[in-house]
């Protein structure tokens, strides 16, 4: 089994009666790029804040790089680059921020600072508050990368960025950082970006993790099956969702699509099609308002 760099058990964060994170069970393997996706308010940022020690869990536990979050937070912060908000000290220039930040991290790499400042075209002499949103994000990322972390935790790193800057950042993350065998955990609701760079995805909604899987597994095993027939089964271990409209029943299954389709045929159904799903479709099935009946209700 691969080593886990992030591991949560029943992680819960409540604000009064609202559960922002509700019994989250997440596993991030070392060396992976893990796309943590969900709608606005799904609990992504709250989860990452708990990992960073900015917020305390109401119950449950989280381990980052084998260390209990909240217990020895300093050990986590020394080895992890967190970019939670793209807001640094606004009155400092990029150079000031580098000087300030370098003192905290023994493995700080000034070579990386020079390299990324040039490659990403960041005006290092300008005060942070005067930078464009794109440059602010790039500077945040530069500081996180220059500390040479084992794990990079990014909260919506491409939010509000134009496609060119987004492409620059994703290239740096994948080609420079992740190719070294280091781990990235990034939250996003831009599914196309996650699909482009991630090899693992976790889909969260209403504070619960609905799905955690390798993207390749999703591509090769997850299928949408459309069937016409009556008295068709509405529950199966591999079934993620099922919906019925105008005599056509649609299933989304996580594995064994052919066998499931065959069993539907045996039960009198006529299988119209078995289609692969992309991440966006899976996401919509699980958390979107697609016309479906949740599995729990059907079961």
């Amino acid at each position: 089994m691969s080593e886990l760099v992030v591991e949560t058990h029943a992680l819960t964060k409540r604000y009064g009666s609202l559960a922002a994170v509700d019994g989250l069970e997440m596993r991030v393997e070392r060396g992976s790029i893990y796309g943590f996706i969900g709608r606005n308010g799904a609990g992504k940022t709250t989860t990452l804040r708990m990992l960073a020690g900015l917020s305390k869990a109401t119950s449950g536990s989280a381990r980052v790089l084998g260390v209990d979050a909240g217990r020895d937070q300093i050990a986590i912060l020394e080895r992890t680059g967190f970019v939670i908000d793209t807001m640094l000290l606004p009155w400092m220039t990029g150079k000031d921020l580098v000087r300030f930040n370098s003192g905290f991290f023994p493995r700080w790499d000034h070579g990386l600072v020079r390299r990324y400042a040039e490659a990403l075209e960041i005006p290092m002499d300008r005060k942070f508050k005067k930078l464009s949103q794109g440059n602010k994000t790039k500077l945040c990322l530069l500081l996180a990368l220059a500390q040479n972390p084992e794990l990079l935790v990014l909260d919506e790193p491409t939010a509000g960025l134009d496609p060119v800057v987004t492409d620059q950042l994703l290239r740096v993350l994948v080609e420079d950082f992740a190719n070294d065998g280091r781990t990235i955990l990034m939250s996003s609701h831009h599914l196309s970006e996650v699909e482009r760079v991630a090899d693992w995805v976790g889909i969260v909604d209403k504070g619960k993790l609905l799905l955690e899987a390798r993207l390749d597994d999703i591509r090769s095993h997850y299928r949408r099956i459309r069937v016409v027939g009556e008295r068709l089964p509405l529950a199966s271990p591999e079934m993620l969702a099922a919906s019925s409209a105008e005599g056509v029943t649609e299933y989304v299954v996580s594995a064994g699509a052919e066998a499931f389709a065959a069993s539907l045929s045996r039960q009198g159904g006529t299988v119209l099609e078995v289609l692969p799903l992309n991440l966006s479709e899976i996401f919509l099935v699980l958390v979107g308002k697609e016309n479906h009946v949740p599995v729990e209700v059907l079961a």
Binding site: R49, A52, G53, L54, S55, K56, I74, A75, L77, E78, F82, I84, D85, M87, L88, L89, P90, W91, M92, D96, R99, F100, N101, S102, G103, F104, F105, C140
Partner: protein, 261 residues
């Protein structure tokens, strides 16, 4: 490195304060000194042998209370920098994902700020020391570097040391309360809370004393002088005021450690 950040934030205020005190010092060192004779109109309190020296004592006591306003303003200004300001500007997530305990941020800020406040206080009191010293010299220094309190001749150094201690304690209190307020409010606007606390204390004290004469709130300033000289029994009071100063950064630390961002 974190110390450098607070220095970067506060250095303009500190250097401006230092410059103003420096200008004042240059006047006290190079300015013209004019002293009226014994029994003259400006011989305010102390007739007799040490009468003219009494003017210097008056000046010293006047300065002791007058220093509160500029030093208090400086302390208030410097107190608005640091973690509270960073939180107000939305940089808390960045700051608190640096691998240091939150207490380190508080005590580093407080330490550098307090050092700046102390240096300005010492420098300002040194200026007055120079001024009074020159006045005494121009009088022929009849008491050998001493000033008079009542019938007592007291070394100027002892009197100025007490004045400096009093200045540091009141400016330090204003700095500590302001710094803690910005952290608790999580915004530089905590300086307003700080003013409110001081004004509230003074007004409440005045009202309480008006209705119940026996009630008298402790003074915010050190009882540095008695009619007979520097208050030699002020040791415990100084210790108590130092402890009071330390309570506020401790409150800021506790508040910050419990804060969720």
């Amino acid at each position: 490195m974190y110390l450098w950040k607070y220095w970067r934030e506060s250095r303009i205020a500190f250097l401006a304060g230092l410059l103003l005190v420096g200008i004042f010092l240059s006047f006290t060192v190079h300015g013209h000194v004019s002293v009226s004779g014994p029994g003259g109109a400006s011989d305010l309190r102390h007739p007799g042998a040490g009468g003219e020296v009494g003017q210097a004592t008056t000046l010293l006591l006047l300065f002791f209370y007058l220093q509160i306003a500029p030093l208090g303003f400086f302390a208030w200004l410097v107190g608005s920098f640091g973690v509270g300001r960073d939180l107000g500007e939305g940089a808390g997530s960045f700051l608190f994902t640096r691998p240091r305990k939150r207490a380190v941020f508080v005590w580093s800020d407080w330490g550098v700020g307090m050092a700046e406040v102390m240096l300005i206080c010492i420098f300002a009191n040194f200026s007055i020391w120079m001024m009074i010293h020159r006045i005494l010299l121009s009088m022929g220094d009849p008491l050998g570097g001493r000033v008079v309190f009542g019938d007592n001749a007291v070394p100027l150094s002892a009197a100025m040391s007490m004045s400096t201690a009093g200045g540091i304690l009141i400016a330090g209190l204003i700095f500590s309360v302001t710094y803690a307020s910005t952290v608790v409010v999580r915004h530089a606007r905590g300086v307003i809370l700080s003013i409110g606390l001081f004004v509230g204390y003074l007004v409440t004290g005045a009202i309480a004393h008006h209705f119940w004469e026996a009630v008298s709130f402790p003074s915010l300033t050190l009882h540095a002088f008695t009619p007979y000289g520097p208050n030699t029994g002020a040791g415990w009071e100084i210790a108590a005021r130092v402890l009071l100063l330390l309570i506020f950064p401790l409150l800021a630390q506790l508040s910050l450690e419990r804060a969720e961002l």
